[in-house]
Symmetry: C2
Subunit: 491 residues, 2 copies
Amino acid sequence: MTKRNDAPSNPDRRKLITSAAAVLSVAALQTPTAEAKSKSGGTQTGSVDVIVVGAGLSGLTSARELVKKGKSVVVLEARDRVGGRTWTTAVGARRYDLGGQFVGPTQDRIRAMAKEFGLEIKPVFSDAKHIWELGDERVEFEGSVPALSLLQKLDLGHIINKMNALAKRVGPTTPWAVSDAAELDAITLAQWVKENSYKKSSRDFAKVMTRAVLGVDPDEISVLLWSYYVAQGDNIEMLIGGRGGAQDSVIEGGSQQLSLRMAKDLGAAVKLSQPVRRVMHDAAGVTVETDHGNWRGRYVVMAIPPAMNTAITFTPSLTGDRRDLETRAPMGRYAKVVITYEKPFWRELGYAGDVGSLRGPVVASYDDSSNEGPALLGFVGGDDERLWRKLSAPARKAAVLECFARWFGSEALKPLAYEEKDWTVDEWTFGGPTIALPPGVLSRYGAALRQPIGRIHWAGTEAAQRWTGYMDGAIRAGEQAAADLLTRLTK
Amino acid sequence: MTKRNDAPSNPDRRKLITSAAAVLSVAALQTPTAEAKSKSGGTQTGSVDVIVVGAGLSGLTSARELVKKGKSVVVLEARDRVGGRTWTTAVGARRYDLGGQFVGPTQDRIRAMAKEFGLEIKPVFSDAKHIWELGDERVEFEGSVPALSLLQKLDLGHIINKMNALAKRVGPTTPWAVSDAAELDAITLAQWVKENSYKKSSRDFAKVMTRAVLGVDPDEISVLLWSYYVAQGDNIEMLIGGRGGAQDSVIEGGSQQLSLRMAKDLGAAVKLSQPVRRVMHDAAGVTVETDHGNWRGRYVVMAIPPAMNTAITFTPSLTGDRRDLETRAPMGRYAKVVITYEKPFWRELGYAGDVGSLRGPVVASYDDSSNEGPALLGFVGGDDERLWRKLSAPARKAAVLECFARWFGSEALKPLAYEEKDWTVDEWTFGGPTIALPPGVLSRYGAALRQPIGRIHWAGTEAAQRWTGYMDGAIRAGEQAAADLLTRLTK
């Protein structure tokens, strides 16, 4: 069974879920509320301090922070569920994350939120052999920081160090302001790697890295964008790392719980299945139109990916740098697969379950076992996603399972359940995990990621000043938008 | 007076027009028809063979070719006028083109259409001194092919020849199919020029060239895209050339006449002020929704810039390569200014009126005199447009006039009228003259420019196999879409 849209593919299976009471208590937020349904086609208006567009982690965080300070909000969401690019759903009889999942060190904001909600952040199983596959070469190794020993073997130390140094210089906040921003933005990462490495293995490594981290190939992004992205997440070892890195831990019970809990607290303020069609804004306020009615607010927070704004009519038109940015901010090509098993057979063979590979289609895998049971997950990113998505559903599944069988033996071919979610063909994101800017964009338009336009503020992980592209960045950007608005609302 | 939107800024002045009876006879097509107005908010439905979205040159050409063969069509246009990126309008008491205007050699299709409508194609005044300004250096020269002698002086011959050779090898039709497409698409034109030239003047020249031709700077596009664009227009001398080049001639009375005449012939089939909001498509047919009702057709032709499709809801979603393309296909930053004068004083000083300059904001100018009277025109493109558009209206005008005064003396500061049209901030195109693809896009997604998706066909100059980005390409793409549909409709 494959899962191309994000409607639960087998609602019956959800009845089997017993381990996550917290999730069940807010399960109603997964499907259209009775209220939203009854209003369908009607006119549902209201006036609030702030209208939030998008009920992902970022939009909900904004709304929550504003409500905490006594402001009135409405959150308008196109999907029939909250959570945006996070989505915890049925994989066979169990529940796993088919969207954003990992929590790493220095991701303080998501850790704080999980703690507040009493959710457990649990390290990914990692204390066993890791695998890297570049071309036909397979390297197995142990250690809590897999990158380091491998990098030495592959002679990648030089280029990694050089990239980290560049990232440090560019910094996480205003990369467009460094003196050579234009030069760094005029060259693709592919070209930079070619000029700064002598071995094919280095170029292969770069491809695994960007496919796994951003869902693109190195020829699609600028060196400035990559440096900024690395700086936002500290360094390359952190971005690609399992244990000790950005893939260190997960939220037991699933990442979507954060959004579900926030939405539950916000109650009727969250409106599902209401795609925003138009945003009218002037000095007096903002009117937001959905298919079900108009909302009036003093301000609006757009908490959706930049490119999604082009699907909304802004009156007056959203022109200038922001619109230029939005037409130049493609998302990565990114899919996730989760496969459940009776037993964690890979552990029995001495493997941690994490792999980095260029043989395709799965570019990176991890052990995804939780209280729900043993599982593996994989990412399909960049050009491999593009090839893979053109296959039939059975062929896609077979191609994925073949990867795991190559790595961990034929036991991998006998899963309990298999699910996939290709965010690239999701009509509400156009891809994932985040924007991947080509040359020429960040140096010119970076500031437009965060700069409000009149009464329009920007959230979404793309607006973050730390951990952009990650769940932590989504929360940070949501908090920032709320803080900015609280300043304006109290004036 | 400035013109930021494309509503005529002074309707009274239009009454003064006497020289273009053909234009006047269809002037009603410049503003909402009574029919469209009366239907506003109502439901206006119909069933046709083909629904055409966009009443620019390309969409109207498609509709016209289909009607010629007895097919029924409706053309849905968001603007309150036809013509798309062509627009002939009042500049003071006269009429000039504030959009696409020039016709060059080998542009057979637009020449044929102009001839059919009895319109005169008139060479631009050119038999006098030309000016190039790179940095502080000003070069004046004569000759019908200005590029050649200048290129020798500036030692640009080598890089121009190399680019032409590359364009010839890449070709105009399927650039993504050449063996090194990925490599050519992995490097920006800026980087390529840097690696293939030794003088700053070459890099400056490249900047003038891309700003004038595509409205972008060389760091924003890939070498593959540029090679393809050059191949579509034969060679670089042709693209940048005045007399004998792509800027050889103009249509007396204005380019919009072509669209106005086609629209007149199509009559009530052309619906203005009806932005398309949704396209529903399946094996049985297509339903297109506007604010004023639904249209049912057997096929649809989308004749709008690729990025504009993201503003339309496709059901089922437009996913895959086409959507990937659309989120990666920014338009150039492009504005046009027209300035009318009592006398062509530049000619009296021995100048042709054409200039290429990097001093900004005007990157290229031409003599724009017609039967209407003496005039000059200028393009503001690439990063200069971005700086210029942030100025106040009076400051923008002053900055433009200052360029012409620097080139042709203080007489330039005393115009009869000044008009500007910044296509970059136009809500129905997001820029101009056409798409300018960054690295990584054309090699992957080029085929999606033309490949139909079910019952959806693509027109617009971006789909052309010759002269993409030009009016001629718009007509070619329109003809191609009609030919493809006629084959399908007669099956």
